[in-house]
């Protein structure tokens, strides 16, 4: 009902504005939107796992006679200049695209978690060193970092994954560090100390799960960003190699056909947007829930 009747706050509690590293993404609408988003996401994932369920057409077989067919009954999304069925390519593109986003996010999350926890729990010097490094990396726009990484590593899928991960690691590291520090000072960790819990157990049981939680939720949103970043690299000609029907690469190829065969670029682009959209929608919802569950 009202929040006025609740406990008096002690005088000393000064409300601080959200710090840089404690940025919370806003909540998205729930309800039917969430159901719809989850359903679409499930379909996309299914396409990634088993594209054969949705189409029997090969995504790589060329059919030059039927090149550049406009979307229609025979080819729902049309065909590209080699006569490959775009519907099938977009479907088969789900796997490499999702894996790329997932891989990048996992790398980033793992790296960020490792660095963040090391900084928060590794003592003053480790903290200083790691956080200065994170500062340095944060001072560079993610795309610049990814560009640097790609020119060093090369452009294979794995490398693009790593490059995007590198770009996102410092951000995650900061979040994890901040969360870890908050958790470490929390009442329940204090309570566990009071129970004489050995430090390793304390970290594994209370600090890690609670510090990583918010980041994992953020990571769902980060997945969408990874997907978009990967397609950005493809656009700059630094994406994964072409034979695999990865959406970013397809979109990048299709942009040369805007005037003549719009569908080549539009459908992969729409696939990226749709995936990022539903992932973001679900992710933000999850975050809202998470926040609500862990706070009053």
């Amino acid at each position: 009902m009202t929040s006025i009747d609740t406990a008096p706050a002690p005088d000393t509690a000064r409300p601080l504005p959200a710090g840089r590293s404690r940025l919370r993404l806003p909540r998205a609408a729930g309800g039917p939107t969430l159901v719809l988003a989850s359903a679409v996401l499930a379909l996309i994932v299914l396409a990634g796992v088993a594209p054969g369920l949705f189409t029997s057409t090969s995504p790589i077989e060329t059919d030059p006679v039927n090149a550049l067919v406009a979307p229609g009954g025979a080819h729902w999304f049309g065909t590209d200049q080699l006569g490959r069925d775009l519907f099938s390519r977009v479907l088969y593109g789900a796997r490499p695209s999702l894996l790329l986003g997932l891989g990048a996010t996992l790398f980033a999350v793992a790296g960020g978690a490792l660095l963040g926890i090391a900084a928060a729990l590794g003592g003053k010097y480790a903290d200083q060193a790691l956080m200065r490094l994170a500062d340095v990396l944060l001072s560079l726009p993610p795309i610049l970092l990814a560009l640097l990484a790609v020119i060093v590593l090369g452009t294979g899928s794995g490398n693009v994954m790593a490059a995007i991960a590198i770009a996102f690691v410092p951000g995650y590291a900061r979040i994890v560090r901040a969360e870890t520090l908050v958790v470490r000072r929390s009442g329940y960790v204090e309570a566990a100390v009071g129970l004489g819990l050995p430090r390793p157990l304390l970290i594994v049981r209370h600090v890690l799960p609670n510090a990583l939680g918010p980041m994992l939720v953020l990571a769902t949103v980060g997945f969408g960003s990874s997907l978009i970043a990967a397609s950005g690299l493809s656009f700059l000609g630094l994406g994964p190699e072409p034979p695999s029907p990865e959406w970013g690469a397809m979109l990048s190829q299709g942009r040369g056909f805007l005037a003549t065969a719009w569908w080549i670029g539009v459908f992969p682009g729409a696939a990226i947007t749709l995936t990022a959209l539903v992932v973001n929608a679900v992710g933000r919802r999850a975050q809202a829930r998470f926040t609500r569950r862990t706070t009053r």
Partner: protein, 591 residues
């Protein structure tokens, strides 16, 4: 004719009927207090009277008459002319009720600007005089400051000044003193009394009957949306008719003799039907008639079939299981010996201050040592040092004869189970991912109970011990009420069979009636388990009630210490006297 006449007010939010059939009147120069626990509908009533119950609120009333104005029919634009100009509103905790990003002066001037009461040039002067009127020294300096730069008392005065700026005939004060230390609380109440004497009508909302009793001409007790009893303050205090009113009065520790029970044991009776008495679940005297219908109010407005003192046993009469038979605490060996401990912190601006300065205290087995002081007096820091969570800069702590401070955590770990803690914010002390079973289970496991059935049995036993049903095992702490959470925290603290429990403001966040139950529980447990309690509170009444000995702290130092009855009866220090004088209903402390 009354200034304000409310007749048959109903406010609902969807299916929830927050306020039901509430009627009262208020005259100029009169103070009416509406008293009730959280969720009783008192704040909604207050908000409705300024048209701020919210968009989702459905309001119906026989009459909602303010000086001939029908408040129920006002449009938003008409409301704006009334708010701040004719009816002022003061909320609790000025730190968040004043816009923290604007200067005090700007906040106080806002009603003047909004209603165009003064030319721009005159505003500043008026603000200063308003601040002076509410007793803020150096109004010129304070007007230029931000709310966080003012002390709690000054802040609350400034908030009142801003509500008064438009010269309202009616001032609604919703928990105006809840966040304040006792001494400041008294000052603010005095200020409000002054306003009343000048002819302002005052509607006071509070959860604490003893606080408003000082000021209100009449009180109305609300429970579950209804006014269950109302009348002249003196009458109600002297002769509470409704069981809930009595429970409220009984729950105030300051009104009790030491060693008596504060609350009736939770009755836990069947809930009433929609037309019946909502209090029936908690009422010892409830019968079937109570669950089916409400009686007409008696002459004191009490909505009860069993009004009057005769209904049910008054908890006051029940003495706690006697303590006199126990060995005198002095003879027990000291468990905790803190010797001249000090701790210095750095403030955000870089300056250092002493949170705790040369504090010494001793706690013996089975005794309760109360630590009392206002906010910032160093109570919590001292507690954390005693708990071994903070290293003192100077001084030593020994636990059961062994060094406790200045040793590596490894050496403390084994003994940690013997000294447990209950915090003010139980929710914050639970891992948010854990349910009740895991919260308590973790502590049970530390005590060496193996996984599986044995552990579950022990957890259930502990929950039972603190009066919680096993049904709550799988609940998350966020799904529990404040009192239930504190019981879970206590259960966890008891799990390893500790010798000492450090309770840091264990009841400050709770409604009085719940507070009473928890205090009773702690007293029972101490008796049954021979616990030593270090009991920290800002509430002198509470400390007096539970403690054997007391330590009074101020500014990080101990000002006075001794037997609780003696200290409260014959305070040696001015500060202690000052504290005692400010306690609502505090005269009983010296009895």
């Amino acid at each position: 004719m009354s200034l304000l006449r409310v007749d048959g007010l109903d406010v609902s939010f969807g299916a929830v009927r927050a306020v039901r059939d509430v009627s009262f009147t208020l005259d100029r120069g009169e103070c009416l207090a509406i008293v009730g626990e959280s969720g009783s509908g008192k704040s909604v009533t207050a908000r409705t009277l300024v048209g701020l119950a919210g968009d989702r609120a459905a309001i119906a009333a026989g009459a909602l008459d303010f000086d001939g104005l029908d408040l129920a029919t006002l449009t938003e634009t008409q409301w704006r002319a009334v708010r701040g100009r004719r009816i002022g509103l003061v909320l609790q905790d000025a730190l968040v009720s004043l816009d923290p990003l604007r200067t005090v002066g700007a906040e106080v001037a806002e009603p003047l600007r909004v209603h165009g009461l003064l030319p721009r040039a005159g505003t500043g002067e008026r603000v200063l005089s308003l601040l002076a009127d509410v007793g803020i020294p150096e109004p010129g300096r304070r007007a230029a400051q931000y709310p966080h730069q003012l002390s709690g008392g000054l802040r609350q005065r400034a908030l009142i000044a801003s509500a008064l700026a438009g010269g309202p005939e009616l001032l609604i004060a919703d928990e105006p003193t809840t966040a304040l230390d006792v001494t400041v609380q008294a000052q603010v109440l005095d200020l409000l009394r002054g306003l009343k004497d000048q002819g302002t009508a005052l509607l006071l909302i509070s959860h604490d009957l003893s606080v408003v009793a000082r000021l209100a001409d009449r009180v109305a007790v609300m429970y579950a949306g209804r006014i269950v009893e109302s009348g002249r303050t003196a009458d109600v205090l002297a002769d509470p008719r409704h069981p809930y009113t009595r429970a409220l009065l009984d729950a105030v520790p300051a009104t009790h003799a030491k060693g008596t029970r504060l609350a009736a044991p939770p009755a836990d009776r069947p809930a009433a039907g929609p037309a019946g008495c909502a209090y029936a679940t908690r009422c010892a005297a409830a019968d079937d008639r109570c669950r089916q219908a409400l009686p007409a109010p008696d002459e004191q407005g009490a909505l009860c079939w069993h009004p009057g003192p005769g209904a049910g046993p008054s908890p006051v009469a029940v003495r706690l299981r006697t303590r006199a038979a126990e060995p005198a605490p002095e003879e027990a060996p000291p468990l905790i010996e803190a010797d001249r401990i000090s701790k210095r912190f750095r403030a955000p601006d870089g300056s250092a201050y002493d949170a705790v300065k040369e504090v010494s205290l001793t706690l013996r087995a089975g005794e309760t040592l109360g630590v009392v002081g206002e906010s910032g007096s160093g109570k919590t820091t001292a507690a954390r040092i005693v708990l071994g969570l903070l290293e003192p800069d100077a001084g030593t702590v020994r636990f059961a004869g062994e060094p406790w401070s200045g040793v590596p955590e490894r050496r403390r770990r084994a003994a940690r189970l013997r000294i447990q803690a209950v915090q003010q914010d139980p929710l914050g002390s639970f891992d948010p991912r854990f349910d009740v079973e895991r919260v308590v289970g973790e502590a049970v496991a530390r005590a060496g109970v193996p996984r599986g059935r044995a552990r579950r049995a022990r957890v259930t036993e502990l929950l039972d011990r603190v009066g919680l049903p096993a049904a709550l095992l799988e609940r998350r702490p966020t799904e529990l009420s404040g009192g239930q959470r504190q019981r879970v925290a206590i259960a966890r603290a008891l799990a390893p069979d500790p010798d000492v429990v450090v309770c840091d403001e264990p009841v400050s966040a709770l409604d009085v009636s719940v507070q009473a139950q928890i205090l009773d529980l702690l007293a029972d447990l101490q008796h049954d388990l021979n616990l030593a309690l270090l009991f920290i509170s800002h509430d002198l009444g509470v400390v007096h009630h539970v403690s054997d000995r007391v330590v009074v702290m101020k500014g990080g130092r101990v000002v006075e210490t001794g037997d609780v009855t003696e200290v409260f009866a014959n305070p040696a220090e001015d500060y202690t006297r000052e504290l005692l004088a400010a306690v609502p209903g505090g005269n009983l402390l010296r009895s």
